[in-house]
């Protein structure tokens, strides 16, 4: 048996007559981020929700640190699922949003931990603000802080930067990379954006017609004709040539 941090074996999910996920196998090493790409409706969100315990698989096994978790409730998994929308609790300030999980755990030194997280996020003077007073990027940062402060075993991100403009998106990608490496976090990052998948992920996987293909390395992904990387490179080369000709 392999010693993968997260291991999924032969996972199936069906909604009515539609087979969304077929015999999914996946392995993830501790401290790595896996970028997961795929078309809309390909089952990416369903897979993340099954890993988080928010949906039940029809069949298959999920192991986290060699412990089977697919029968556990979401509260017992220490896996956090982050949506495209920051989903801050609107009745709580930014500070209290970050403190939410710590209060549930009855953790010690909550104010100190929350202030340290606000500082990491570059939002030390924004803690008193209510969610409606924050910008989209700030909300997403607080959502990260709320998730990271409780030190989850695994972080699942479902297109978290999808609603942000390109500049903030780029800033958030860097922030995410820094936070993940500083906390040695393991994550699965769903995105539609090929460039984002390459920037964020240590490895890449793709869901197509319910099947998951996990590439051995990033170069294996680039070499796959179906990955779309070649098309992207050709597009930019073509554009560059056209510009030079002009």
């Amino acid at each position: 048996m392999s010693q993968a941090f997260l291991r999924i074996q032969q996972l199936d999910k069906q909604f009515g007559q539609d087979q969304i996920l077929k015999g999914i196998n996946l392995e993830l090493t501790k401290g790595q981020t896996l970028s997961l790409i795929g078309a809309s409706g390909s089952g990416k969100t369903t897979l993340l929700k099954i890993i988080a315990g928010l949906e039940r698989a029809d069949q298959g096994e999920i192991y986290l640190r060699q412990k089977r978790i697919d029968a556990l409730d979401p509260q017992q998994r220490k896996i956090i699922y982050l949506y495209q929308d920051a989903l801050l609790f609107p009745h709580l300030s930014a500070f209290d949003n970050i403190a939410f999980g710590l209060k549930l755990q009855k953790a010690k030194h909550i104010p100190a931990q929350v202030n340290a997280m606000l500082e990491k996020l570059g939002m030390q003077d924004q803690g008193h603000k209510m969610p409606h007073q924050l910008s989209g990027g700030q909300k997403q940062r607080i959502a990260f802080g709320r998730a990271l402060v409780i030190e989850p075993q695994l972080l699942l991100l479902d297109e978290p930067f999808g609603a942000l403009d390109p500049e903030i998106r780029s800033h958030m990608q860097k922030l995410f990379k820094n936070l993940v490496s500083s906390q040695n976090l393991t994550a699965i990052f769903v995105t539609h954006d090929l460039k984002e998948a390459i920037i964020i992920g240590d490895n890449i996987a793709k869901i197509e017609q319910g099947n998951l293909i996990q590439y051995d390395s990033k170069s294996a992904f680039y070499q796959d004709e179906k990955s779309g990387v070649e098309d992207e490179i050709l597009f930019w080369k073509h554009l560059k040539n056209e510009t030079n000709e002009d």
Binding site: L54, Q75, R77, K78, Y81, L82, Y83, D85, L87, Q105
Partner: protein, 253 residues
């Protein structure tokens, strides 16, 4: 200009009946074509509150009935509407909530009267409460229907992944967010019960004398001064509730 006219028209239509009823309740004699009562008195209020006590008793009975119903409907509709909203058969359940309105409350009462009599629920407080619940509960479910949406479900699920149990999620996330919907449901259910006449009279067999029933009795007896006292008492609690409702909603925002 138009908004000012509308504002004053609204104020007049609301304030005038209250002032008129208050005047009538304090009148000893008020004959046409006099604009104001010829004689003023506190006798009707004194008799109602301290001597005969019928109206005061009805006021407390109405308050007890309406507050109990509003509390029950708010709690039951909150949980039932959540079940319905996330059910595969949402459409069917929501159509069923319309049945009491299609049949009308009194027709519903006629249908159920036999069972109320057999269960010894006719002519008492509990019977009227249950009868009103048949009618007000679907109304409460309709009020909560749009509250349970995909966004709220995602927030609830997120709280689970952050470690909250179902109870903690309910107390720390869902209830604070649902405050405006709960207040609205409580207020509307209170009003449904407070002004209910036909069903209360039918199932209560005239023995459950709520304030609304008393008003009709006084009018039937052509006792306009006592009817006015009862009317003023009938109007006051909804106005206080409306004021509190507005305050709570503003605070919730």
């Amino acid at each position: 200009m138009i908004s000012k006219v509308l504002k004053y028209s609204f104020a007049i239509t609301v304030v005038f009946p209250i002032v008129f009823l208050l005047g009538l309740s304090l009148a000893q004699q008020w004959q046409f074509p006099e604009i104001l009562p010829q004689e003023w008195t506190f006798q009707h209020w004194g008799n109602s509150l301290f001597k005969q006590g019928d109206i005061l008793e009805s006021l407390f009975l109405s308050l007890g009935l309406s507050l109990t119903l509003a509390s029950l409907v708010s709690v039951l509709a909150f949980f039932m509407s959540k079940y319905i909203a996330y059910s595969k058969h949402r459409q069917l359940y929501m159509r069923l909530t319309l049945v009491p309105y299609i049949l009308s409350p009194v027709v519903l009462a006629v249908i159920f009267q036999y069972y109320f009599t057999v269960a010894n629920l006719s002519g008492n407080f509990i019977g009227v409460l249950i009868a009103q619940l048949f009618f007000a509960l679907p109304f409460g479910i309709v009020i909560f229907n749009n509250f349970w949406n995909a966004h709220l479900k995602s927030i609830e699920q997120l709280s689970f992944t952050l470690g909250a149990s179902s109870r903690q999620s309910l107390l720390k996330v869902i209830l604070p967010l649902s405050k405006p919907a709960i207040v609205l449901c409580f207020f509307q259910s209170f009003l449904v019960s407070w002004f209910e006449y036909g069903l209360t009279q039918f199932i209560g067999l005239g023995k459950v004398k709520t304030l609304t029933v008393m008003v009709f009795n006084f009018i039937n007896e052509a006792n306009v001064f006592y009817a006015a006292v009862a009317c003023v008492m009938l109007i006051l609690p909804p106005i206080i509730l409306l004021y509190l409702n507005k305050k709570v909603l503003i605070l919730a925002r």
